[in-house]
């Protein structure tokens, strides 16, 4: 599946699904991410942590080209994102869509399949069945025809996960899916992600709660505009790195 240009590259590509090189993103004149070099390994649960405004969401969005990249390169299985869109599923923050939109839970999940359908082709009984299956996986089959605004926050988040499952991707990029959700939702999401991980998929999650990082994840990316640390939890999730990540802002203000 992978394009092997040289031995060295192919080795890296066998191990990592996303390779980020020299990535910088600037909003107007504010640098949001500065010269990030980072690879996401396959078959791992990866947490992105950092203080507010550290560029966590931006990092995830930059991988998908949802924000303009000022410099650097992102490759997904050795190709630019535009050539490998179907390998990536994105779960945005819940607030990014209008939940009053006239649609139901099943329909939102089915939208995850629109990319595979491509232009002009209509959803059909096959996509409907697949969407139903995914909704079932997140425990919401009884809510299929519920207008999405009438679901609880946790249920909405699970609908988003079901939509990502429908995309049947290799890489799952998620922006704080556990933020403010109920216990059932958190358990459901984690157990589904655990299974995806076992299938060798890459799961990248912007995560807020530091206490649960070592419990839920194998790998951590610590970011505060710059990349502070990146690696297996046991090696890099240390007090020193945490201090460096969360004190960065202070350091800037002292300067």
């Amino acid at each position: 599946m992978d394009q092997k240009s040289s031995k060295n590259n192919s080795e890296v590509e066998n191990e990592y699904s996303v390779i980020i090189k020299n990535l910088s993103v600037t909003y107007r004149t504010e640098p949001a991410l500065w010269n990030i070099d980072l690879n996401f390994p396959k078959g791992k649960m990866i947490a992105i942590v950092g203080p507010n405004g550290a560029g966590k969401s931006t990092l995830v969005k930059a991988v998908m080209g949802l924000v303009p990249i000022t410099a650097g390169k992102v490759s997904i299985f050795g190709k630019p994102y535009s050539k490998n869109r179907d390998k990536v599923a994105y779960v945005p923050q819940r607030g990014s869509v209008d939940w009053d939109f006239p649609t139901d839970a099943l329909d939102v999940v089915e939208m995850g399949l629109y990319g595979k359908l491509g232009w002009f082709r209509r959803p059909n009984s096959k996509t409907r069945d697949l969407a139903r299956e995914c909704l079932d996986k997140v425990g919401l089959s009884n809510y299929a025809d519920r207008q999405i605004g009438q679901l609880s926050g946790g249920q909405q988040q699970r609908v988003f996960l079901a939509r990502a499952l429908a995309q049947d991707a290799q890489i799952y990029l998620m922006d704080e899916p556990l933020n403010g959700v109920d216990v059932i939702t958190e358990k459901t999401i984690l157990s589904i992600l655990e299974n995806l991980k076992k299938e060798g998929k890459t799961i990248v999650m912007v995560h807020h709660e530091l206490q649960t990082v070592d419990k839920y994840f194998d790998w951590v990316v610590m970011v505060n505009r710059n990349l502070i640390a990146n690696g297996p939890i046991k090696e890099v999730f240390t007090k020193i790195n945490l201090d460096r990540t969360y004190q960065e802002k202070q350091r800037i203000s002292i300067q």
Partner: protein
């Protein structure tokens, strides 16, 4: 002649309504309703320039001019609010009066061209029957019906063919982008359809009615349904109903046709807003007061259970003191819990929970 001119006017109005109300659904859902306001005014500039350029009201030139000025409006508005601090509503408020005003200046300079500002705002649907289209000098019927009919076919095809693409890009732009369904392209195609619809409809019914038909039926439909497909159908239906009732009212009261149609869209919206099922004002108020009642019932029963066996036992008269409710409300609830057999009165006239009441309290504490 009398009947057929009535039919032409009503047919024109129905087609305008259907065209605007269908496309309007996406404007409302994209929170771009005011963009239709901007476009339907600023098309004047394009129309006037087109009329100057070809020396007459050549329909194709007029449409092209109008669409171009519509796109100019959208681009300038987006340029403004993407470039700095200004919000979209302010950007719209800056751009369209400016373009419209230039149009107005040009119109007043155009002594030899038959456009006037009155016509621009209120249209001249009354004259639709007298404006016929000729094909090789053969009279093939009302121009407005032909033009609007072709527009209706294009709008319906646009929505049917790109239904999925329109839906996904309206609901979640990032998902559409990830799916390779180019939300920006879809956005501009939609805006071209809005501009075309605005120009063509504007010719017959004027700027104000165009805005009413773009925004009001779609908003009313939004209050009535939870499905996009139904919202589209309902919006068109409400638009058409407003057009027909508005026309009949105008005939009956001998008032402006477009004015009365626009008023009817507003009245129908108002009725749905107040009386609509589920999301109507009254039904929402009922739901809320029903929930409040349930909650207060729970508070009361829990309160009775808590005080049971203490020396502060509960009766109707203690409620306004202990729970802060009015005397009337305390009496009303006390009566209700006795009727429902949640409580009985003991010999001192204090409430004690029955088995049914105890079960009810358990439900609340879960």
């Amino acid at each position: 002649m009398e009947i057929s001119s009535d039919l032409i006017i009503i047919g024109t109005a129905i087609l305008v309504a259907a065209n605007c109300a269908s496309i309007g659904v996406f404007l409302v859902l994209r929170k771009m309703a005011m963009m239709s306001d901007a476009i339907s005014h600023s098309v004047l500039l394009g129309i006037v320039i087109a009329v100057f350029a070809v020396g007459g009201r050549e329909p194709v030139a007029v449409i092209v001019g109008g669409v171009l000025s519509g796109i100019l409006t959208i681009s300038l508005v987006e340029l403004l609010y993407r470039s700095g601090k200004l919000k979209q509503d302010s950007s719209i408020g800056i751009i369209f009066p400016f373009l419209f005003a230039i149009g107005v200046i040009l119109v007043t300079q155009a002594g030899n061209v038959h456009i006037d500002v009155q016509h621009v705002l209120y249209g001249s649907i009354e004259f639709a029957p007298f404006d016929t289209l000729y094909l090789d000098e053969l009279d093939i019927g009302s121009k407005s019906i032909w033009v609007l009919g072709i527009l209706a076919i294009s709008n319906v095809s646009f929505i049917v063919i790109l239904y999925k693409e329109l839906k996904i890009s309206t609901f979640d732009k990032s998902l559409a982008l990830g799916a390779g369904l180019m939300p920006l392209l879809v956005h501009y195609l939609l805006m071209i359809m809005v501009a075309t619809t605005a120009v063509v409809a504007f010719e017959s019914v004027g700027a104000i009615l165009v805005i009413a038909f773009f925004i009001v039926p779609a908003s009313a439909a939004f209050l009535l349904t939870d499905r996009l497909s139904r919202m589209l159908v309902l919006s068109v239906f409400l638009g058409i109903i407003s057009a027909v009732i508005g026309y009949l009212f105008a005939l009956f009261a001998d008032v402006s046709i477009s004015g009365s149609m626009a008023s009817i869209t507003g009245i129908i919206f108002g009725l749905i807003w107040v009386f609509g099922p589920n999301r109507g004002l009254i039904s929402r108020w009922r739901q809320v007061s029903k929930q409040r009642f349930e909650i207060n019932l729970g508070i009361l029963l829990t309160h009775i259970q808590k005080e049971l066996g203490s020396d502060r036992q509960v009766s109707t008269s203690t409620l306004s003191n202990s729970l802060g409710w009015t005397k009337e409300y305390s009496e009303k609830l006390s009566e209700f819990i006795q009727e429902q057999k949640f409580v009985e009165k003991n010999t001192q006239g204090n409430f004690i929970l029955t088995d049914i009441g105890l079960k009810k309290v358990e439900n609340y504490s879960n």
